[in-house]
Subunit: 432 residues, 2 copies
């Protein structure tokens, strides 16, 4: 077995080479990946059949088994994704700040790759291709740890990606597969070689990673999303937004978990909501004020902090906009929260004061997604506030460096006054 | 004594209020701070005298004692800094991405404060005013822990800043002072209330913080900066850049620690360098190839990884550009590194492949500084790659939120095809 430290060091070397590779080369590698996967599809399907057989014998739950299966349909989706990614603009090399500091001395801030990223992901094997290709597009190397059930499939897929990268003149070690929990534990210690960890998993799992590594973590906590129906809401719109936010897909992080209703509109709104939610088989929990208007089970304090990910909704009546904002900032998870109102001032106050990655006016919370936002591809959704927040596109996998170009300028000249600062902003791209 | 959890909660409430405060109000508070400090200068100076007296009795080293002293001159610098900060543009509210997702549905990414930031800083009391004012300018609340020796001065300064904020209609709790190490330990546990920790101190101290908190840390590691003299360097320019980078101020993180010299230019360059470094009393350590040309003590492997912060320089001869880049990526700290050359292709390779926050061509490493870069004010220098990298201006204290404004759009409509994505980029500011 390979030593994790050696693997991390190989990732570092691969990252240094990738940082100097042109966009043309990186895009060619993405197209080569699509081809290589098609060429080796029989090996991949055979590996996946072995994984599925073992998982079936181990009585893996049906939804997980479906996620594990990797056949023609998923392969087509994956190769189409690779081709679309090759077509996206280059996240690397853009100048985001340019300034003449003193005569003949020009500073440029230029987007560049982060370096080495460790990603721990769920059992879906298509996630491996997605993550590795996003990393390569943005010039990063990845250490990948997938679900145990998908080990053979992941190994077959990773081999293809490495072969394709090499055929395009890039280092195969841009992607390396970890296979054991011990590898993950060892990876968390390599803070000199690894720049970022992205754990995709439960809240507890993300916290475990944070507790056991110095490496920065971009994680995803709960998605406790709210819709607040203001007193100035259009009732039909509020009902349809509530139903879409809750029931269009209950198992996702951008689904609504708690509905807040202004006291003045409760007796008109709740009776309109009830049949619409009943039609979707949504179980309703409410506080006393809700239960005075419609039939609902009693909600407890714990419900306000629960991510059901199910056909269950907690409903609370609030006295005013301030109370709604306070509830969301206290119980919410900072993911996505919506106000339904025709009052622009109320919308503005809500959107300024609710401390969440997404603050919505008159639209379903289900729109919180990187593809929907126009990023082309999504790395994940970050619920922290550092580096990236909300749906993360390729930009989340980049950092920047400052390039300073002079002709012998010295600090001693600045201190003596022989030269002075000009600080003239420039509207130009970095030439090197 | 106040409970740290209560303090952190008060910071969170203050941050929520600050996030909704206008730029006018925040700037008025900064000007009020300058006035309040002038009004209370006698109390501040008395508190500082008591701190200095105790530190003198405890035989604090002279340079530290000088940093501790806070008299008229430092007060003037601090109030001038507050006035300049009030004049700087607002880091909050700028739209950095705008896109129509589908008809009538507009997405805006808008800069906003991070929230609550814990800052642990050195004994210099002027740092307290600097940090607290940068936080307020960018709409953040801070928990401040300064050096033990400056306790009375810091308390007097913090009281003034809180009074000034309140007089401008902002919460006094935007700034709160911690006084003990136990407070710091307790602060590190408040990951639900605190969004970011900025430790200003030694490398070991930053690592201690990272090991003991789930809260993201923006820290500053070593500054092991290099100058590489390429074979195509102008020798006079190379000598003056080397002298400025090493000796203009040896005690700072952007001073050069190791000089790399291309083998082909060593016999011409080193004899020109020697007298210039001798004039500045710089002690020279060199590898065998260096010592074959000039008089220098032998350098050991450990020297390549040492931040001297002193009149000492290690020098190494390298075979070519690749070897220089490999040396820097292996031994450097990713702070700031310079190539001196008249060969544009070599400069481009160096700047692309050296994995540092600052990559310089023909200019002293001493220019790595937030004020020099045109940011007006500097929060610190980040040597990690996540969130902010290199000299951090006010932008480093901000994050963003996504504001989505619709008229009842539903995900069910997108899935059924009743609506389609337009993803039309907009060139406009967020209206709310």
């Amino acid at each position: 077995m390979k030593d994790l430290h050696q693997m991390a060091d190989a990732s570092r070397q691969a990252a240094l080479a990738l940082a100097a590779a042109s966009a043309e080369k990186r895009n060619a590698a993405l197209l080569a990946m699509a081809q290589t996967l098609m060429c080796h599809k029989n090996e991949i399907f055979a590996a996946n059949e072995a994984d599925v057989k073992e998982a079936t014998e181990a009585k893996l739950a049906a939804p997980l088994l479906n996620r594990l299966k990797f056949r023609e349909e998923k392969l087509s989706a994956v190769t189409a994704g690779l081709e679309a990614l090759a077509d996206l603009g280059d996240p690397i090399g853009k100048t985001t700040y340019a300034c003449e500091l003193t005569q003949g001395l020009k500073l440029y801030r230029v987007a560049c790759p982060i370096g080495v990223i460790g990603v721990i992901f769920e059992s879906r094997p298509d996630a491996l291709v997605q993550i590795a290709s996003l990393a390569l597009k943005s010039g990063n190397a990845v250490l990948l740890k997938g679900g145990r059930e998908a080990l053979r499939t992941n190994a077959a897929l990773c081999d293809c990606l490495r072969e394709a990268a090499e055929s395009a003149g890039l280092p195969a070690d841009f992607a390396q597969l970890l296979t054991t929990r011990e590898d993950v534990a060892a990876m968390l210690k390599e803070d000199e070689l690894i720049d970022l960890i992205i754990p995709r998993g439960s809240n507890e799992f993300v916290r475990f990673i944070m507790d056991n590594s110095r490496i920065p973590v971009l994680g995803h906590a709960d998605g406790i999303c709210h819709v607040y129906v203001d007193k100035a809401a259009d009732i039909d719109m509020a009902v349809s937004i509530a139903v879409d936010s809750k029931a269009q897909n209950v198992a996702v992080c951008n689904a609504m978990e708690t509905l807040l209703v202004h006291r003045d509109i409760a007796s008109a709104f709740l009776p309109a909501l009830l049949p619409a939610m009943q039609e979707k088989n949504v179980r309703l929990l409410g506080d006393e004020a809700v239960r005075a208007v419609i039939d609902a089970e009693p909600a407890s304090e714990a419900d306000w902090a629960t991510e059901y990910l199910d056909y269950t909704l907690s409903i609370r009546v609030v006295d005013n906009l301030d109370a709604a904002i306070a509830h969301i900032n206290h119980y919410g998870s900072g993911h996505t929260d919506c106000i339904v109102t025709s009052d622009t001032a109320a919308a503005q106050a809500f959107m300024t004061r609710v401390d969440s990655a997404g603050v919505y006016h008159n639209v379903s919370t289900r729109f919180a997604d990187g593809f929907v936002y126009g990023f082309g591809a999504e790395v994940g959704i970050a619920t922290g506030k550092i580096h990236a927040r909300g749906p993360m596109g390729l930009e989340g996998l980049t950092t920047y460096k400052y390039k300073l170009m002079g002709s012998g300028q010295l600090m001693a000249e600045m201190k003596s006054g022989a030269r002075t600062y000009t600080h003239r902003l420039l509207d130009e791209e970095c030439p090197l």
